[in-house]
Each structure stands twice: as C-alpha cells, then as structure tokens.
C-alpha cells in the first residue's frame, strides 16, 4: 500500500501534515506524536524578527470551532534556525516552514535565510487575517499576490506553496494569480474571519475584535474551495480547514488535495494527526486501494 505523495518534487511519506500555528514547532506535540511518522511538520509562521502578537484574549470558542487572533507571535527566523530546525531534523521529520512578514522584503529575507537549511518546502502565509500589515493584504488582491509570489519564488531555494485566504469572492482567481507567478503548490484554506460578542459584558470576546475561524465548522467551505482550485489550476494542493478525522481528510483528497493538514483538531486530540493517517490506511485497506494516488481528485 502506497501512501506517499509528491508535492512539487518533494516526497511526503504520507499525505498528512499539520496546520501551521496549531502544532507549535512540533516539539510541543512530540510527547503525543512521533514526528517522523507524519508526512511533514508544518511550523508556526516565522518572520524575519520576533513578533509579539496580539493582546489577550486571543481565542474564543464558537459552535464547532474556534476563533484565533494570535497575531503571528513568533520568535523570529534566528531561533527557528538555531533551535527548531535542528530539533525537527533530529526527530526525522520532513519540514514545511510557514513564512510570514509585513512586507515583501520581510518574506524574502526569511526565505533567503532558509535557503541552506534542512527545510523541504516553504509555505508562504499571505492570508493571516489577524495582523494589520502584510498577511491578508497580499491574500485578497490577485495583483499583490502575483507580485509577492514572483518575488518569493525568485529567491527561494526550496519549492514554495502559497497559502490562500478563504475570505475572497473567487478563490480560483487567487489560485491562478499565484500559479501564473510561478508558485509550486498551493495550500488552503487559512481561517475565515469571524467575530464573537460577550452579551453579558457587551464587548468583543477577542481583544482584536475579529479572529480567524477554524475547526470542524469551516470544513464545507474549505472543501468547496479546494475542489474549485483543484479543478482550476495544475499545481499540487495541500488542503485544510476543519479536518479532524480520516474521513474528513479523504474528502479533501478526493476533491483534489494531494496532501492535507490537521490544524485545530490537534487541540481536540493531540494525536489527531496519527489517527488520521491510520484511518486513511484503514480506508485504503477496506477498499483495496493500492496507491493513494487513485483517490486524489477522484470526485469530479
């Protein structure tokens, strides 16, 4: 039985990675998960310098999901290179580094610093709804997305994956803009912008007022977008948004995702990634599927 997939020339031993920001550097979950058993570990967004993130409360629970406005707190690329990447290498994990920035320059700086590092893929986060500058600004305008993709691709030594925001009218337009600019792959979706009000306090629950919605509740929207993009462009897709079971993951794969990320589900079950991998194997066994390739995009 073959579970391995190929994303832009990089082989993942299985199609399951982690949603950036939901799995820390990987280290925090290593008590629950053998990191080398994952298709890859996708790390929390990293910038050229440390970012303090937003004030608290940074999260709120909503029906079937959560809102977060972490604001991309991160210790910066130096720490990633000194501490996190060696740890991941030692753990035998394939690594996707999620990159964030406030300007194109920031992104390029991070990407260049990573050029000689043990990193398999670069996931470029142009879709974080929780920071004022950068982030989603690039992710909601096809021209801006095209431009930054081109810049990053020109400097990147590893294949790049542009991570798309679902907060757009036409996700295929965004996908095309990134593909035209040379991205090697796409990942989607980042969070849907949402809000929660505390009616007793008559105030926003989040200090940031709005936050990004994730978790099982967003799955149908994510799946629809993955399907649309898979049928619009010709690069591999990492699908995500609400995946908490193998069944969920298989829906994304059948819709056209080459790989999937387990995000918020890690908070519901720290071994969720492993459970998803095992569940996919069970499904393949039960349906006598020799190669997961047979399932990718099989629903048209």
């Amino acid at each position: 039985m073959n579970l391995s997939v190929n994303i832009a020339g990089v082989t993942m031993k299985n199609p399951v990675t982690t949603g950036s920001g939901t799995f820390g550097s990987g280290e925090e979950f290593s008590e629950f998960v053998d990191l080398s058993a994952l298709g890859a570990v996708t790390t929390k967004g990293v910038a050229n310098v440390p970012w303090p993130g937003n004030p608290t409360p940074r999260i709120a629970e909503v029906y079937g999901g959560m809102l977060n406005a972490i604001g991309l707190q991160n210790p910066g690329i130096d720490v990633m290179i000194e501490r996190d990447l060696p740890m991941l290498q030692k753990a035998g994990a394939a690594v996707i580094v999620n990159v964030c920035g406030k300007s194109e320059k920031d992104y390029v700086e991070v990407v260049e610093r990573l050029s000689d590092q043990p990193v398999d893929l670069l996931e470029i986060n142009v879709s974080c709804p929780n920071v004022k500058e950068g982030g989603i600004a690039f992710g909601q305008d096809p021209k801006a997305l095209h431009h930054i993709t081109k810049e990053v691709k020109a400097k990147a030594k590893q294949p790049i994956i542009m991570k798309l925001s679902p907060n757009v009218t036409d996700i295929t337009e965004m996908a095309r803009a990134a593909v035209d600019a040379g991205t090697d792959g796409l990942s989607l979706i980042n969070t849907l912008t949402g809000m929660k009000i505390d009616i007793e306090k008559r105030d926003f629950v989040l200090a940031n007022k709005t936050g990004g919605m994730s978790g099982p509740a967003i799955k149908p929207v994510a799946l629809r977008m993955v399907y649309q993009v898979a049928n619009a462009v010709d690069v591999p897709i990492i699908g995500m948004g609400g995946i908490s079971t193998a069944e969920d993951a298989l829906e994304f794969i059948m819709a056209g995702a080459t790989a999937v990320s387990v995000g918020t589900a890690n908070f519901m079950n720290p071994a969720a990634t492993i459970d998803v991998i095992e569940g996919i194997k069970d499904y393949m066994k039960r349906h006598q599927i020799e190669d997961i390739q047979e399932l990718i995009g099989c629903v048209k």
Partner: protein
C-alpha cells in the same frame, strides 16, 4: 513529562456550595506524576464545544490513581460537567503546566474564590510551617475544613459574614500573617495585590495565572501573559501560561 490524553471514569461528583462542584476522576497515568499547581484540560461531552476546559488539580491520590478537581459553573461547559454522574466518563489531558516550586521556608498559601482548590494539594504536600489565607465571597466556605489540618487558616469574606471583611490582603494585614514564600491562586486583581505586596516586602511569591487556552501544551500561543524580561522561548515579552506557568514568580510577570 508524561502528559496523557485519556478517558477518565468519574468516581464521584458532589456539590460543595452554590455552583461549586467536586469531581473525582480515575486517571492513573496522570495521578502518577501530577504535582500541586498543575492542571488538567477537561473536554466536555458536547460536540459543539471543541476546546477543553483547564481545571486545576485539587487533589492527587497517586496510589489510588485518582485526581480531584473542584470547579465553579462559569458557563455552558462547566454547567455540563456539573451534570455528569459517577460512572460517566470524560476525556482529559494532563498533567499540564508547571506546578508550584515547593520551598522549605515558612509559607503563606493564599487562595481566592475558585483559586482555592489548587492550594489544597499544595498544603498537603508542603512540608513546612504554613499559614493559609482563603478568600471567599460569603459564608459558603467550601474546602476550608479540609485545610485546617495543614496550618493556621485565616479567612476573608467579601460580605464580612466570616473572618476579615474584605479580601485576602486585608486578612493578611489584619491577622498579621507572615512568611518567606507566598503561594497564591485567585482572580487577577487579587494576584496583582499580592504581587505588589510581595515586591514591597521583598518576599518571593509564586502566583498561578489564568488565560484562555486552546492546546494547553505550549503550541498555539493563545494563553500568553506579559513577562518583564524578554522570554527565552518566545524572544518577546510573552510567556505561555499553560506551559511556562500557570505558576510564575511574581517578579517575572506583568499583570
């Protein structure tokens, strides 16, 4: 070390006061390594709620393999928990966070409101002279009796119905409570008062903080508090309550 997610059987559930419940859980693997001041994450059996509720460990029976938690109904999740019965099961994750660092010096244990429960196991395990100061809203003084064997117990109540009228700081001042190390858990205004008091008096204070959590294990950065210095792990002025805390030295955090 040794964090586990497991399905725990509820041994018993009792009501201690209005809206305050006492639950004992069979959870060998967690009880075996838990320490005072640590907490567990409790997942409620309601699929609309995906995040676990952090609840401090109030009692540890390592031999019996059981844990005790005492919690207040604060919203829908804890309300549902209060409806569970002996024999029901609940998914939990723990032990989480760093507990109190037990020092061999004269101790003052301070608990305010629903911050009282974690002080009980600490009182049991802390092997030195102790004063215990408990702040309640009114005369419903849950757990107070259980503290009596471990030290001198002083009480404050907001409505003045027992002990010192006011808060725990008022009680400390009124009763002249003294010690070299303060261990405290309670609402932020109380901890702020204790922080100020400890800094003024040059006493060490270990304070247990609260913040909204998602992962509970240091990965998501939901639960940060402000640190005085740039934090080693985050490289900014943030520490994670779930992993770097919940117990912090009062000198290292801004409240």
């Amino acid at each position: 070390m040794g964090k586990k997610q497991l399905t725990a059987k509820i041994i018993s559930q009792t009501k201690l006061a209005d809206g305050i419940y006492d639950m004992r859980l069979q959870a060998e693997e967690i009880a075996a390594c838990a320490k005072p001041g640590q907490f567990i994450s409790v997942y409620v059996n309601d699929k609309s709620k995906i995040l676990p509720r952090p609840i401090s460990i109030c009692g540890i029976d390592a031999e019996g393999g059981s844990l005790r938690i005492v919690y207040r109904i604060a919203g829908e999740g804890t309300k549902q928990m209060a409806g569970y019965k002996a024999g029901d099961t609940v998914k939990i994750l723990g032990p989480l966070g760093n507990g109190f660092t037990m020092k061999p010096e004269k101790a003052v244990l301070i608990g305010g409101g629903i911050g009282i429960p974690p002080m009980l196991e600490l009182a049991k395990q802390l092997d030195c002279p102790k004063s215990i100061v408990l702040g309640y809203r009114d005369s419903q003084m849950f757990l107070k009796d259980e503290f009596e064997p471990y030290g001198d117990v002083f009480v404050s109540t907001e409505d003045g119905s027992a002990g010192t009228k006011g808060n725990v700081i008022d009680a400390i001042k009124e009763q002249g409570v003294e010690g070299s190390v303060i261990y405290a858990c309670g609402p932020t205004p109380m901890l702020k008062g204790i922080q100020a008091y400890a800094l003024e008096n040059g006493i060490e204070a270990q304070i247990s903080l609260e913040e909204r959590m998602a992962c509970g294990i240091g990965a998501c950065l939901a639960c940060v508090c402000q640190s005085k210095e740039v934090d080693e792990h985050s490289k900014v002025h943030n520490k994670r309550v779930c992993k770097d805390g919940p117990v912090f030295d009062a000198r290292e955090v801004e409240l």
